[in-house]
Symmetry: C2
Subunit: 655 residues, 2 copies
């Protein structure tokens, strides 16, 4: 707590009310938190805590760009079922994925301008599809953010562990420590986390572009070799399948993992400097361009050099090895940056999850604590909640990436589908407005658009394709763990709706629109349960007498000898207050008091309140709490739901 | 909660005080607890809940008798260091252990009569040696009871697991479940647990006596063979040592594990029917006689048949196998009962720990909750605490008996030493009283005793020998885990003394002997922090106005728009109450309120109380608690230690 000199208080008279206005103090409160996450920021500082395009790309693109590290390999693994000749289909498949990506990205670009307060798929679904699709989008995105953190950090740790196998037994601890670290950096603020993580993100970016660029140049110059001693192709199939449409669809679905992460910008628009929609849109386009280039380049080169999907050496590593030839340093840098970017992808989730949670909370579907901005102006509750839940997942899955992967990506694709469908519906509405007419939604305004039909078809196609991918993911990975997400999302939707009902119901009950004229409280019956006659009891008694003239002390008697002592002492110190003795043959302490109060409640008048004053001694040492029976706490539990009964603990401070 | 018809209340007038006396109700309160541990017992039923000699032997002897299952083996294991020829020393060693046992048992017999309220070593040390030795005795006994439960249950589970190896991964869970079961049976009452456990205890007893008896008879008849294919003697020594005095002392110390458990009766006298000292004394003698017979018999037969200490087959099993020859059923019964008695030994600890803890708590060295008798008249807190702590030990040591054994027995022997030393001092005092003179202690009266010198020497010797055993235990087992106990006991002593200081200090501060004349509370300043203007706030406001005319509402403003709305609403609903608006530039909620109250406290008059009324909505669903910020809870934490400030949560019930 900070102390303010009296001069900093200013008294204003408004009507008949005296209003103190506490001036912003010279220096903000300091504590251990200051040391950990930096000095508190005043609300007025909010605009300074936004980020520009350069840092924005680093923060929001890490997740999406990290997927280039494995997407090509995912395609090749599936095609391997039809033998290495089928690898020729990889590049065409990657082109069709980039086409789908283009539709999704363009749709998000429009979303960013239509809904400048962020929320992405959630907001689009809410405005255009209704409550349940919106909550489904929210639930799947939040789930996927949590999984992104767990998977990214675990795979970063897995890379470290494969280099230092003696760390294997500590991988869960290391993953938790890293999660905690990323959480701390994010609690300092999005600007701070961006600056910390921007450098490695850009090094990764440059390294990947360089690798693809050098590869293509060497190919054109005709001196790019085939990959030297590639790892053996191991498939789980004994006989090779034919190249069926289903196999190609499966390879396509697996390759769409390249698209995970592109939703983050649309959810996190509010992190950008003004004009934020424009800045966010530009960053989205940059990111999509880089992502498409890298993904196509890597898949193309993989085909040219004859890279083979393997558990022993990644496709990226094979390409880097072949491209750089004997420049071992460049090769090592490319491979190690790939490991680092996987770990950085966690940071993107920390930028997205808290903002989305705050939007859901603002709409009343999550606890409203998610809307509070912490001392550094970030949504601290969301950041901490994300870290805790990702930590739980890491512990449950023992930091094993293989076990977590099947849960991953379904959520993202479900949100893509809902977002595309929502935008398609929006175009349909735009097409049915006359020129100049406009339809006002909660968070945006729809104008007539002459190109509505083309746009509707594009988004409709995007919705259909992403829906197919979602289904293929859900079905093929179902037994490996996807069932958890398939079960979890409806459960979350139900929870969100229950929370919303609670808040709506509460708002209705607290509303002053239908106010009844309550009588003023005209009578206080005060009950004071005592365990003995001592200074603490007398302090409680003095307090009780100050709020009412109708005070009754209650003593629960379990031992006749003790009872006699209490009666004698009460004669001296009781100040003439009525003492009721309740015999408790079964040595119950709380129940007789509750029963007595219940009896009083039955004869209570509407304008009468029953107040229970519980004398309680408190001590400077927290541990002494367990040395005393927590009567007040238990009485509170027992009486909480009874209208017209109020409990007062009167503390008596003991040194 | 149970409801009582109005007729069952009776009003008595005592002086000017109306006293309701709640009659013992026809049927006691029922709940899930009734189903689990039986119907509640009235305090008046206490005498029926004591046990006679037959059940007493089963309850209190299990622990001691179970040690016959391993004590002989412990001696042989040590002697094995000098080769199998050294096994000849086992029987003489066991005779000297029985002699020591006789001294300790006779001393406890006198303790039982001198201190009929139980407490054993703790009480003897407190009356004769002072506070620190008494607390050391208490700490070491409590520690050992906890270890007895953990070790006994784990070794019982180990026996089961060696029969069904597929249960190995579940041994911790099984051990916890069994601990919980023994806890439940003990919560039903000592009589009930005695009845449940008496049958197997007596079967064990009969089987062991039969085994020894048949063995001796066959030996006398000359047809007892040597053990058939004994397990191979495995020692950790590569060369055999000489039989040194230290080796013999070490073997003696290990064999004294036969004595663990004999302290339980002296601690648990209050469990016996009246005349309880006599009954407890008789049971102690029976137990000692059986224990000595079995221990000598087993060690003797082990020597005669050439039994070998082994991890693969216990000495008891070798004896039973040899004695019963081809009566496989009798052999199996003897071995399985040995497993069961190990498990039963835990029950003895459940009879001893809660009573000892209650005695320490009554003296103010443990939280006074340990003195409460639960609905079944047992010391429920102690029973539950014992089960929880034993469970923690089981989890920490992964239910491995080998790892727990080194921690075990040091506590018992330390308490033996303190008890013997205390009794020796008592005889010295008795010797220095004149005939007919008496010295009154807190819990007993000392008379002159003509045989004081012999008794003092016997107990002094006992103290010296058990001290040597304690030291040998502590030193030889120190690196294997005994250091934990060696460190823990002083820590516990310090804790006990801190608790005692706290209670004494509290009693002093609460005492009315040095009462200051406090002024009556003549003025209430009421502060009501509001988060909005709604039904809940207005309910709080009505309450606030009913206890004082000086009410100030406080609103923490973080957003100018919200602030304007609140001001406008307050104009309509505020009933003319003063509203203070505190600006919070750093979005802090609790700190500005605390600061405001602190400022008021500085100008507070001695006869003035500051009451903070916090409107709080409560709901029937517990989970909604996490949907609201717990302002009242946080304010309470912040204001608990500030004298003259009282917090009232005014609940507003929401459906």
């Amino acid at each position: 707590m900070h102390h303010i000199p009296k001069e900093s208080m200013q008294i204003e008279e408004i009507n008949d009310q005296t209003v103190f206005q506490q001036q912003p103090v010279g220096s903000p409160p300091r504590s251990w938190r200051t040391w950990l996450i930096g000095r508190p920021l005043a609300s007025a500082d909010a605009p300074h805590e936004t980020i520009g395009k350069t840092i924005g790309l680093a923060v929001f693109a890490s997740d999406a760009l990290s997927s280039t590290a494995y997407a090509t390999q995912e395609i090749l693994v599936i095609l391997a079922a039809a033998g290495s000749l089928a690898f020729g289909y990889a590049f065409p498949i990657s082109i069709s994925i980039v086409a789908l990506m283009a539709i999704v990205v363009l749709s998000y670009e429009q979303t960013i301008h239509a809904y400048p307060n962020g929320g992405g798929a959630y907001i689009v679904a809410r405005e255009n599809l209704g409550e349940i699709p919106a909550q489904a989008a929210g639930a799947s995105l939040l789930t996927d953010y949590i999984l992104t953190v767990a998977v990214s950090i675990s795979s970063g740790v897995a890379q470290v562990v494969s280099a230092f196998p003696e760390l294997l037994p500590y991988r869960v601890i290391i993953a938790l420590a890293l999660t905690f670290l990323v959480m701390l950096v994010n609690l300092r603020g999005v600007r701070e986390s961006g600056i910390v993580f921007a450098v490695p993100s850009y090094i990764f970016l440059v390294m990947m572009l360089l690798t693809v660029g050098v590869g293509v140049v060497r190919l054109l110059m005709g001196n790019l070799n085939m990959v030297d001693s590639p790892p053996e192709l191991i498939t789980t199939y004994t006989t090779f399948e034919l190249v069926t449409p289903f196999l190609l669809l499966h390879a396509f679905s697996s390759g769409t993992s390249a698209m995970t992460g592109i939703e983050a910008i649309a959810n996190g628009i509010t992190a950008f400097k003004e004009p934020r929609s424009r800045n966010a849109g530009v960053v989205l386009m940059w990111m999509a361009g880089i992502l498409a280039t890298l993904f196509l380049g890597i898949t193309f080169l993989a085909g040219k050099i004859g890279a083979v999907p393997s558990e022993i050496e990644t496709v990226i590593s094979q390409i880097a090895r072949t491209v750089y030839g004997d420049s071992v340093l460049l090769y090592l840098l490319a491979v190690s940056m790939t490991a680092i970017i996987l770990f950085m992808a966690a940071n993107t989730a920390f930028a997205g999850f808290p903002r989305l949670a705050a939007i859901l909370a603002r709409d009343g579907f999550l606890p409203h604590q998610f809307t509070y901005r912490g001392s550094r102006l970030v949504f601290s509750t969301g950041i901490v909640a994300l870290a805790v839940m990702a930590g739980v997942i890491v512990v449950i899955f023992n930091a094993s990436v293989t076990q977590m992967i099947p849960l991953y990506a379904i959520g993202v694709f479900l949100s893509f589908t809902l977002s595309q469908a929502g935008m398609a519906h929006r175009w349909w509405k735009a097409g049915h407005l006359s020129l100049g007419e406009e339809q006002v939604e909660r968070s945006s305004v729809i104008h007539h658009d002459p190109h509505w039909l083309q746009k509707m078809i594009a988004n409709g196609l995007g919705a259909a394709l992403t829906a197919v991918v979602t289904l293929v993911f859900g079905i093929t990975k179902f037994p490996d763990g996807a069932w958890i997400v398939v079960a979890l999302i409806p459960l979350l939707v139900v929870t969100f709706i229950a929370i919303h009902r609670h808040y709506e119901n509460l708002a209705h009950q607290l509303s002053l629109d239908h106010v009844l004229i309550y009588p003023r409280v005209s009578r206080q019956r005060v009950i004071i349960p005592i365990s003995g006659v001592h200074q603490g009891t007398l302090a409680g008694l003095r307090y009780a007498c100050s709020i009412s003239d109708d005070v009754t002390a209650i003593y629960i008697s379990m031992d006749p000898e003790e009872e006699e002592k209490i009666k004698a002492k009460w004669g001296i110190w009781g100040e003439g207050i009525r003492l009721v003795i309740l015999k408790s043959p079964y040595r119950l302490l709380i129940e007789p008091v509750l029963e007595y109060i219940e009896k009083l409640c039955r004869i209570r008048q509407p304008n009468e309140v029953i107040t229970v004053v519980v004398p309680q001694f408190v001590s400077r040492h927290w541990w002494t709490g367990i040395l005393h029976s927590q009567t007040a706490f238990l009485l509170r539990l027992g009486l909480l739901l009874r209208p017209g009964v109020v409990i007062i603990e009167v503390p008596y401070q003991v040194e």
